[in-house]
């Protein structure tokens, strides 16, 4: 689902601006030439069609049907109209638990990832090549770590009985002898998940932004320096405006990734079902469809997740283009 939005989003922002030379548009090109890109794209399009378009259509179809074990065996989903959506949207569970979990968590994770990524990128620009290599290597290690492994490491760090954090907090007297089970409270649960996701996500952002920073001409900074601008002013007046497309890409990508976080929540204690207070949209959809065999209901949740992502992406892209037009 997200894959299409990913490519759509990044293409829209990465593509060089349309050539403004009118002569290119006045004369129709021969059919052979116009077909050429599509011929070149044919193979990947077939693969994408099979792997992405078909599942999307199927999920959308199932979301309007009752599709439990009985229907799987008989091979006939029962059309139920909007019943699944009514059930998902009707109760307070979506509005009070799942949606806030998804949205608030994603907001914190995206902001956290981008701030940390930017800071690391700026640091990379400052330090010498040896230190830079060391920082990049350690950051890439965090990035290369599979989400499953990373999650288990964080769970281990915050283990309520013998984790490093408990020992540390008890050492300085901030935690009683009984300890505290971080995984049972929604807030502390998501604080850990946010740390996990930021730690896992920042290296990509840092390296992308670092690559972007190298394209900002040094003369601009020198000129600003001569004019008396300090580092803070130069960052906001020169770096940020020049880097807007890069920030746009990493923000959209992070938003999509952090909205559909699954493993990092599912694998934490309580996240796989025994604590419904901490479900996000992805986990809820999985539990309803795979664990409870209500594939139709699960499909409707997945459709909602996709729609929410589409809305966010579209709103963000429009805001971005409007700013571009102004400048």
């Amino acid at each position: 689902m997200a894959g299409t939005t990913v490519s759509g989003g990044s293409r829209a922002t990465l593509e060089p601006p349309e050539p403004r030379d009118p002569s290119l548009h006045s004369r129709p090109r021969p059919l052979r030439v116009r077909l050429r890109p599509w011929l070149l794209l044919a193979a990947p399009l077939v693969v994408i069609g099979a792997l992405l378009i078909y599942p999307i259509v199927r999920v959308a179809y199932l979301s309007f049907h009752r599709y439990g074990l009985k229907e799987v065996i008989s091979g006939h989903p029962v059309f139920t109209g909007l019943d699944n959506y009514r059930e998902v949207l009707g109760g307070s569970y979506l509005w009070k638990t799942v949606l806030p979990n998804t949205v608030v968590f994603a907001a914190f994770a995206v902001v956290g990832t981008i701030v940390l990524g930017t800071l690391v990128a700026l640091l990379l620009q400052r330090v010498g090549p040896a230190v830079r290599a060391a920082i990049i290597a350690s950051a890439l290690l965090a990035w290369a770590l599979p989400a499953v492994t990373g999650t288990y490491v964080w769970v281990w760090i915050f283990d309520p009985d013998s984790g490093v954090v408990r020992k540390m907090l008890q050492g300085v007297g901030l935690l009683g002898p009984e300890g505290f089970n971080w995984f049972t409270e929604r807030l502390s649960f998501y604080a850990i998940a946010t740390l996990n996701v930021i730690h896992h996500g920042y290296p990509f952002i840092a390296i992308t932004i670092f690559a972007g920073l190298t394209t900002v001409p040094a003369e601009l900074h020198e000129a600003a320096k001569i004019d008396g601008a300090n580092a803070w002013q130069r960052f906001w007046q020169i770096t940020v405006p020049m880097m807007r497309p890069v920030f746009a890409v990493v923000t959209i990508l992070s938003t999509i990734w952090d909205f559909k976080v699954f493993a990092q929540v599912y694998l934490m204690p309580g996240g796989s079902g025994s604590n419904p207070d901490v479900f996000n949209l992805g986990v809820w959809s999985y539990v309803e469809s795979i664990n409870r065999n209500q594939y139709g209901l699960g499909a409707s949740i997945a459709v909602l997740l996709t729609l929410v992502l589409l809305v966010i992406t579209v709103v963000y892209l429009r805001a971005l283009f409007r700013e571009d037009e102004i400048s």
């Binding site: 074990l69 009985k70 204690p269 079902g273």
Partner: protein, 431 residues
């Protein structure tokens, strides 16, 4: 069989995959309709508890050939994927003729129309007379039988005999004794957990719900009703969770533990007593040789003595409706569930056989980690409500949700009411 959590099964499956390496043999390729006529039969068997069963398969193939002249094709399925694969097999018709099916899944698949009604064949052959009653229940849906018990297991308390000896303690025979035992251990062994209560182990709580006279759900006519908010179930749950909340039997973290975490804690020497299935204690001494000879087991006591009923989980062998070789399939089911092959499989997998005659031999075993479990299974084994939607209750983790919320401060009354309502809703839906 579906033990209390999917993760545990997955871990077990992963572990056995590692043990077995990549040497996968004895499982030729797919297709139940290969070959001509009745010459071959495809059988799905779950992998995850037995590192290498190829010798057993070879023997089964030989015997099957001898008895029927047909070839047996064995395909191993990982427990973690089994439910999904079976659903797909039902949907696509590309499944096996016979499959091992977890006891808690059997009513679900039977109700959905995936399994063959074997009632007449089972009754005519006399197979059912010797079957352990809880296993027979598990394969029964609407009065008809859809499978034959193949092997099973149950839970009891695994404990440290060396610590009991050191402190002069005896296995408890009532709930009052268990509670004072916990109090004593809390005082005498301050570095260990007396009896951790895992929030994610619903089958650890079952003996206390049943032991006080409660149940998960009751059936009235054709309507199911969640029963965890009955006074009896509440009493049992209050007792069980108070061991953790008031008697220091457990740790803060155990509220989110799974059954595998209990085993882990015990293996590391951090717990004195844990509720475990009979197929696990064997691995404790393997992983921590220091504990060799220091482990015993006793039945979870009943409230006022005797044994509390314990969940009896296991596997049935069932014939798929899509199979074109119904008679041959039945012959195979009969061969596997009676006679020596059944006993051999149980021994190799650390599970118990499904017939009372065979199980009695295990109850007389001198092994301190075998006999207590076998006695529980003979005398106090009990099945979950035989409702087609029970699998969905397990998938939803309704019981674990309730346990975890009680262990983190919700009142027993509120938590059981919520769980009961959820069970009522789930069991009566989707049919």
């Amino acid at each position: 069989m579906r033990f209390s959590n999917k993760a545990g099964v997955a871990v077990l499956a992963a572990a056995s995959m590692l043990l077995a390496g990549c040497g996968d043999d004895g499982s030729p390729s797919a297709g139940s309709t290969g070959g001509g006529g009745d010459s071959s039969l495809t059988w799905w068997v779950m992998k995850g508890t037995n590192p290498d069963a190829s010798a057993f398969y070879a023997e089964a193939k030989k015997q099957f050939k001898k008895e029927t002249g047909a070839t047996l094709k064995v395909q191993e399925i990982q427990w973690a994927d089994a439910h999904d694969k079976l659903v797909r097999a039902f949907a696509g018709g590309e499944g096996p003729d016979v499959s091992e099916i977890g006891t808690t899944w059997t009513p679900e698949f039977a109700a959905a129309g995936g399994l063959t009604d074997l009632t007449d064949k089972i009754n005519d052959s006399g197979v059912s007379k010797d079957l352990i009653p809880a296993l027979k229940d598990s394969a029964t849906y609407n009065g008809k039988m859809y499978g034959v018990g193949w092997y099973a297991g149950t839970r009891a308390i695994v404990y440290r005999t060396d610590i009991f000896k050191k402190d002069g303690l005896q296995p408890p025979t009532s709930w009052a004794q268990l509670q004072s035992l916990v109090d004593t251990l809390h005082k005498k062994e301050p570095k260990m957990l007396p009896f951790p209560v895992a929030g994610g182990s619903s089958y650890g709580a079952a003996p206390f719900i049943w032991g006080a006279g409660g149940d998960f759900a009751t059936k009235d006519g054709d309507q199911w009703k969640g029963a965890l908010d009955s006074p009896q179930a509440q009493e049992g749950l209050t007792y069980y969770t108070n061991l953790a909340l008031k008697h220091h039997s457990s740790s803060t973290g155990a509220a989110t533990w799974l059954e595998t975490d209990l085993l882990d804690s015990f293996t590391k020497g951090k717990s004195v007593m844990v509720i475990q299935g009979n197929w696990t204690p064997g691995t404790v001494a393997e992983q921590n040789p220091e504990l060799k000879g220091k482990i015993g087991a006793f039945a979870i006591p009943g409230k006022d003595g005797g044994m509390a009923p314990a969940f009896l989980g296991g596997s049935n062998l069932a014939v798929l409706k899509t199979s074109e070789k119904q008679d041959l399939a039945w012959k195979f089911v009969k061969m596997m569930t009676t006679g020596t092959l059944s006993k051999k499989w149980a021994e190799q997998t650390n599970f118990f056989p499904s017939t009372q005659t065979q199980l009695k031999k295990f109850a007389e075993s001198p092994d301190p980690l075998v006999a207590p479990f076998a006695k529980v299974m003979l005398n106090a084994g009990k099945n979950v409500p035989s409702a087609p939607q029970w699998g969905a209750v397990e998938g939803d983790k309704t019981v674990s949700q309730m346990l975890q919320s009680i262990l983190t401060g919700t009142s027993v009354a509120d938590a059981t009411k919520k769980a009961s309502d959820a069970i009522t809703k789930t069991l009566n839906s989707g049919s």
